[in-house]
């Protein structure tokens, strides 16, 4: 395997990691707020808070990791995407900043401040939309290079069916992923009332998720036929994704094997995400940046991969410890062990 393939695989894995943990996080913030305004806060808030408190900081790191990695491995992305994304990127940063800080303010500081909760809960819904613009841009057709200047064509972006279908998919899938996880978590905590509420959310968001996925397929076919052709080569991955989804929804419906159900949800998104990514190769930003032309120098590539392996050796045991102490610790999950 060569450096560019290793590089893009590493980055894609991290982006997938971010997709899962951030979805749980963003969705949880929204459910937390939604249950408060519908008078069900006492049912689910405790569960959500117990899960999020020790891990919210970790979520952010996945995103930073991806950002740093993509510039390190493929420096040209900084030039094209950096210039084109000034506006949507800055808005994403501001939303992330509001969300992150107001989460801390409302959970550690002023616990009953509903305004803080509103800021934290609602900003989470807009972040996936603003971040998903990067995926949209990578399909090509929205960035132009004129007289050495990189320009983002906003008119085209806002009227693009593809762009909107990606936004819708990102929105409904965070709610689905989050609800599926929290259902499992609440069940583990033996908090059956919370479990029922969250299960309702999961079932409710399952059909929109699959519909939005179909919409994206259709929109890619219209927008970038080359990419759609490629995706057909990986059709088996998308079929597997659908199978995982069906089993996951079945288990959640039946209130059985909720842990397995969440793993199936993760697999569902893994198959779709990696299938989508593999079909997109060799382009990172179609048609400006392909992984072969813009890869970093071999010395730096190797150093990055070594640093990456060393980092993983450090991170995996630490993450394991974190999960043992909080996710898979019965007393903690059930709220019996104090702060």
């Amino acid at each position: 395997m060569n450096i560019e393939i290793i590089g893009i695989t590493v980055l894609w894995i991290f982006l997938y990691g971010y997709l899962i943990v951030a979805s749980i996080d963003f969705g949880a913030g929204f459910f937390s707020y939604y249950s408060m305004i519908t008078g069900r806060k006492h049912l689910v808030h405790g569960i959500i808070e117990r899960y999020l408190s020790p891990v919210w900081e970790v979520t952010n790191v996945f995103l930073i990791f991806f950002m740093v990695g993509i510039v390190g491995f493929f420096p040209d992305t900084a030039y094209y995407l950096g210039t084109a994304l000034l506006l949507p990127g800055s808005i994403a940063i501001i939303l992330l900043a509001i969300r992150g800080s107001y989460y801390a303010f409302s959970n550690y500081g002023s616990k009953d401040n509903s305004f803080y909760l509103l800021l934290y809960g609602s900003s989470g819904l807009f972040i996936p939309a603003s971040l998903s613009i990067v995926l949209t841009l990578s399909e090509g057709g929205f960035i132009q290079e004129q007289d050495g200047q990189v320009v983002l064509l906003y008119g085209k972006l806002f009227t693009s069916a593809y762009a909107w279908s990606v936004v819708i998919l990102s929105l409904v899938s965070i709610l689905f992923i989050s609800a599926a996880f929290l259902t499992y978590y609440a069940n583990k905590a033996k908090d059956y009332k919370a479990m029922e509420v969250l299960r309702g959310f999961a079932i409710g968001w399952s059909a929109p998720t699959i519909l939005a996925s179909l919409l994206v397929f259709f929109a890619i076919y219209r927008h970038n036929p080359w990419h759609f052709e490629n995706m057909l080569h990986y059709a088996w991955m998308f079929v597997l994704s659908l199978v995982c989804f069906l089993f996951a929804t079945y288990f959640i419906w039946k209130r059985q094997r909720l842990g397995l159900a969440f793993i199936l949800v993760m697999l569902q998104f893994a198959f779709a995400f990696f299938g989508y990514g593999a079909a997109h190769l060799p382009y990172i930003l179609y048609p400006f940046i392909s992984i072969h032309e813009s890869v970093t120098s071999p010395e730096m590539g190797i150093a990055l991969i070594i640093a990456f392996i060393a980092g993983l050796l450090l991170l995996i045991p630490s993450l394991y410890l974190l999960m043992r102490l909080f996710l898979f610790n019965a007393a903690y999950v059930q709220g019996k062990s104090g702060k």
């Binding site: 900081e57 930073i64 420096p75 730096m300 410890l321 702060k339």
Partner: protein, 451 residues
């Protein structure tokens, strides 16, 4: 309104974000060290006051960490958005330290979560204390690596530039560039120092408000002694930084010191102002001091600004920043010594308290130390202008060409104002409504305030 120039607005916006982030980053690096020291003392001396100190500091710390994390994210993403051409070239050379910084931050994030939520979970208190070690390692390492990136921008090496393509990269040579040792050491020690003084200021505020509990006195003693150690360390490293500048970035030192003619036995100028003919008024000249600062001997020749091409000279106002940073640092050392003297007197005679003026000075010391950090960073950053990559790329060439940077500047300025005020309000509320006395009683440590 000035005419739209993305490079100028990008500089202001980056400066604003960094200036705001530095406040929280400094706390993020320094306070875990102080928390760990307090917990260590608490377990070692079996003194619940120190444990409570660590707990309370920890609780406030989370709020500042949150803002530190989000503004750090801002900087990470803004680098790409505002300086795309720079990142395209330098991004590869500095990818390794940036990558490692993220790992260090990851490590810190994991263990900070564990540390904060396991206070009463282990039977052996040392287990909980042990978790503070990876938090410190993570936060200090991430400061180390990110400063390496900045050091590289000051003394780039380990690559060749051919047009817009960068070749022959040696990641390790780029990382351990000449600026790395002094810069990272100075950043770390000054962050520890500033955090110690900030926490000392909090204790002093309570004492000034008439609270007499031994808890506050212990807090003050611990923080002031730590402050002394760290500020002496910072001063020593600061001197080494001066020697580094003389050798590798003479233009920065010369501009900071208003040293125009290359000469031996160069004097150091304190204060004063400069007229348009570059004549210094009212400045205090210390003979030989600059030669000593730069090379360690009075006869050494120090390069003057006139030997630097005019379009490569940094702005001359950085002199004031240098003076401010150094004088605050020196005053804080004096303040610590004064505290030790008066604390001793107070201990020897019954019923005698620390003088109120001394407590007031300590309250001022916290913000002053933070001001010195800001001055130091502006000095370091403005002092390498007009370069973004010294000797390779000018700042204007690295900036984005995109429109709307001015609007983004406005938006981010608003964000930081709102965040700044909310942090202040939340922290105040947290500690006002739950005073240390209440918590001492609540946790059954003792029956309230000692009369």
């Amino acid at each position: 309104m000035m005419s739209y120039d993305p490079a100028v607005y990008s500089r202001i916006l980056t400066g604003l974000t960094l200036g705001f982030h530095i406040l929280f980053a400094t706390i993020g690096v320094g306070v875990p060290v102080m928390i760990a020291i307090a917990e260590f003392l608490g377990i070692k001396l079996k003194d619940p006051h120190y444990i409570l100190l660590a707990r309370r500091w920890g609780r406030g710390f989370v709020i500042t960490v949150a803002v530190g994390v989000v503004t750090g994210t801002s900087i990470g993403m803004q680098l790409n958005l505002l300086w795309p051409s720079f990142m395209q070239i330098a991004g590869q050379a500095i990818a390794l330290p940036l990558f490692m910084e993220t790992f260090a931050f990851f490590f810190e994030a994991i263990f900070l979560g564990i540390y904060l939520y396991t206070w009463d979970r282990f039977r052996n208190p040392w287990v909980h204390f042990a978790i503070s070690i990876p938090v410190i390692i993570g936060s200090s390492l991430s400061a180390f690596f990110i400063t390496v990136v900045n050091a590289f921008m000051n003394t780039p090496q380990g690559f060749k530039l051919e047009g817009r393509t960068i070749i022959d990269i040696d990641p390790w040579v780029a990382m351990f560039n000449p600026a790395t040792p002094t810069k990272t050491a100075h950043v770390l020690s000054s962050a520890y120092m500033t955090s110690a003084f900030l926490l000392a200021a909090i204790a002093a505020v309570s004492l000034l408000a008439g609270k007499k509990h031994a808890y506050y006195k212990k807090a003050l003693k611990l923080t002031m002694l730590a402050g002394l150690v760290f500020s002496l360390l910072t001063a020593v490293i600061g001197d080494m930084s001066g020697k580094f500048l003389a050798e590798y970035q003479p233009e920065k030192l010369a501009a900071a010191e208003w040293h125009f003619e290359t000469s031996a036995q160069a004097p150091l100028v304190l204060g004063g102002f400069l007229n348009e003919n570059h004549e210094i008024h009212y400045g205090l000249k210390l003979p030989f001091a600059l030669s000593i600062l730069a090379f360690g001997k009075p006869s050494a020749v120090v390069t003057g600004l006139n030997d630097i091409p005019p379009d490569e000279r940094p702005p001359l106002y950085i002199h004031y920043l240098f003076d401010m940073m150094v004088s605050i640092g020196s005053l804080l050392i004096v303040l610590c010594l004064a505290y030790i003297l008066f604390a001793r007197k107070a201990r020897r005679s019954e019923g005698r308290e620390l003088p109120r003026w001394l407590l007031r000075c300590i309250v001022a010391a916290g913000p002053l130390a933070m001001l010195a950090i800001e001055c130091g960073w502006i000095l370091a950053e403005v002092g390498r202008q007009p370069w973004i990559l010294r000797g390779y790329m000018r700042t204007a060439e690295g900036a984005t060409t995109s429109g709307n940077v001015d609007w983004m500047l406005l938006l981010f300025a608003l964000l930081y104002i709102v965040l700044g005020f909310t942090v202040w309000a939340v922290l105040r509320k947290m500690f006002k409504s739950n005073s240390a006395e209440l918590e001492l009683t609540g946790r059954g440590i003792e029956g309230g305030e000692a009369q």
